[in-house]
Amino acid sequence: MNSNVTTKHRKNAGLLSIIPGFGQFYNKQFVKGIIFLVLTVAFFSSFSQTLNWGFWGLITLGEIPKLDHSIFLLIDGIIALLVAIIGLGIYAFNIYDAYHNGKKRDEGFLLNSVREQYHNLLDNGFPYLMISPGFLLLIFVVIFPIIFVILLSFTNYDLYHSPPAKLVDWVGIQNYIDIFKLDLWRSTFFGVLGWTIVWTFGATTLQVVIGVFLAVVINQKDLKGKAFFRTILILPWAVPAFVSILIFSGMFNESFGVINTQILSMLGIDAIPWMTEELWTRFALILIQSWLGFPFIFAMTTGVLQSIPNELYEAANVDGASIFQKFRGITLPMVLYATAPILITQYTFNFNNFNVIFLFNGGGPALPGQNAGGSDILISWIYQLTMTSGQYGKAAAITMLLSLIVITVALWQFKRTNSFKEEDMM
């Protein structure tokens, strides 16, 4: 075989396989060619109806009110879209296969026999076979909903455009424009976003500080009862969070809750309007989240502390370092280095921490001039827009904005942690 290729099998095979199977026939792989051909025919005969109907629905979202249900048409449209993508994938593979085998012929190699092809298929197909159950499920419960939300954010789906009585229409980026242009939406959006950010940083940072601090205090060598303290302090993590939050919501009840009626009155402080004043609700929420979240950080830090070599501290002792110098110079850097990736997931977790906001005070108290409650963060506001005020299109647009923020932070984090740079990791 020489390097100058004289035959043009790859081009011919690739071009011929524009009609699926013919490229394989050209390569004299008849069984494979027939399989591709049969697949194509089967695909069109069974899905042409789905595709036609789906794409018509996707583009028009229905034409006759009461008869066409826009949202169902949208769902069918997405199914058609997915089917089309899978079909195109198979088609692309058909062309690639014909081209690839043509190239092999050009270079003078022998092609695999049917038997070898079968074994190849088993070997190369096995990983696909293994991931397909999980992946299929993922397509339907995660990817499908995401596509749906993306599309929904470009429609005017709300209570006034609610199928089957009315049709839903494509409105382009009108929802996004409204959120940033209309006064009510703009002030609410930025108000909620602002509190979401304060909440994320305030609550998470506080729980990290408390967790690290307590872990360091307990880790002192001459302190007794370590196991006891560690077990007790991990309790808030062990008790299901929704239970604790509901308990707190009872304790903070303004007129009957134990905080106002007993603890504060014992200290001679007047009852505090925990549930009706925005600022106090927010303050209580941050305290509660610190209670709920610190044990996780505490447990992590304890693990790291036990792995710090003792020699480091001994060397510091020789140099006459104080407790605080040792903490700042040795403990803190080690802990932060080891737990940094997890700390960042804590921030993203709290950014979307629906449970604590909703279960404590339902996102309230209600505020004048806003359509979100005083302690609503983005995710609980979306919930409220969807479940109580029926503003589906707007809620979808806000979901998109929220996802944008989360994904940006996530990608930034993973770029920093280098997990992609290692060849073996991926």
Binding site: I71, I75, D123, P127, Y128, M130, P133, G134, F135, L137, V142, F144, P145, I146, F148, V149, V217, I218, L223, F229, I232, L233, I234, L235, W237, A238, V239, P240, F242, V243, L246, I247, F248, S249, G250, N253, W291, A299, M300, I323, A338, P341, N352, F354, L359, I379, Y383, T386, Y392, A395, A396, T399, S403, I407, A410, F414, S419, D424, M425, M426
Partner: protein, 280 residues
């Protein structure tokens, strides 16, 4: 100041701090325990140490005629267990494929999983709601379980893959030399070696549906299908404060088993999280 007095001061300050922390952690838990024994019904009268403690709230929870509590408990257990089984199975498959095979689409698949684990799957709650309505899965446990299993896959696949990467590949290769097939290597060689990570995945995928509130709240409509979280919330929000002691008893009954389960497995939790999270 001598070393000794310094030590005494340092230790007493430490104990004082820990004492305060312990009180703050334990107080709400003891308070709810006390409330559950209060004779009254409402939030206002409940105290931590009731004068005439009673078990009547616990009894009323188990009164099947008037209370759905037992049903909620069984629902939660059923949903969490089934989710656990299916999540472990599919995560074992996907994790193994990603760790051991090099195939087209592998890198993109991993990247997709990584991004997906960042977005909580309830962010698309509108879609889940409408989709469930369209497919008739609204107010069914099947629909809820499917969502839970799907939600568990991305993150746990990464954990699983991270662990499998540490099992030497020479093991599979020598087995292959001996003529073992793909499935045989997977079931008889790799799976027995991955028991620790399977335990972690099982725990995560049991605890997550158990502690979930929002998805169950969106999906489940009728009271007899509720899970624990939704049921307790309804109990407490329907007439706030008026059923508080019953709610307290319900909370105690759910919190105690979960807490025990959790405390006995906590070291796996931590090792699982650090193994998957801090690598790289």
């Amino acid at each position: 100041m001598t070393n000794k007095t310094e030590k005494i001061i340092r230790l007493s300050v430490s104990y004082l701090i820990l004492l305060v922390a312990v009180v703050i952690v334990v107080y709400p838990l003891l308070w709810v325990l006390g409330s559950s024994f209060n004779p009254g019904q409402s939030l206002s009268g409940s105290t931590m140490f009731p004068e005439n403690p009673t078990l009547k709230h616990y009894k009323s929870l188990f009164d099947i005629e008037n209370s759905n509590y037992v049903l909620w408990y069984l629902n939660s257990m059923k949903i969490s267990l089934i989710t656990m089984v299916f999540a472990v199975l599919s995560v074992a498959f996907t994790g193994y494929a990603f760790s051991r095979y090099r195939f087209i689409g592998r890198k993109n698949g991993l990247l997709t999983f990584l991004v997906l684990q960042m977005i909580p799957n309830f962010a698309a709650l509108i879609a889940i709601f409408v989709l469930a309505q369209r497919t008739g899965l609204l107010d069914t446990h099947v629909g809820l379980i499917l969502i839970y299993v799907g939600g568990q896959i991305p993150m746990n696949t990464w954990l699983m893959k991270g662990y499998l990467d540490t099992i030497p590949k020479e093991l599979d290769e020598s087995a292959r030399m001996d003529g073992a097939g793909h499935l045989r290597i997977f079931w008889q060689i790799i799976m027995p070696l991955s028991k620790p990570i399977l335990a972690v995945v099982a725990l995560f995928s049991f605890i997550a549906p158990f502690g979930d509130f929002i998805l169950a709240r969106i999906m489940l409509r009728s009271e007899e299908k509720f899970t624990m979280g939704v049921g307790l919330y309804e109990l407490v929000s329907k007439q706030f404060g008026n059923e508080f002691t019953t709610f307290a008893a319900g909370s105690v009954l759910i919190a105690i088993p979960i807490t025990i389960l959790f405390l006995s497995f906590q070291k796996y939790f931590i090792s699982g999280l650090t193994a998957g999270g801090t690598k790289g």
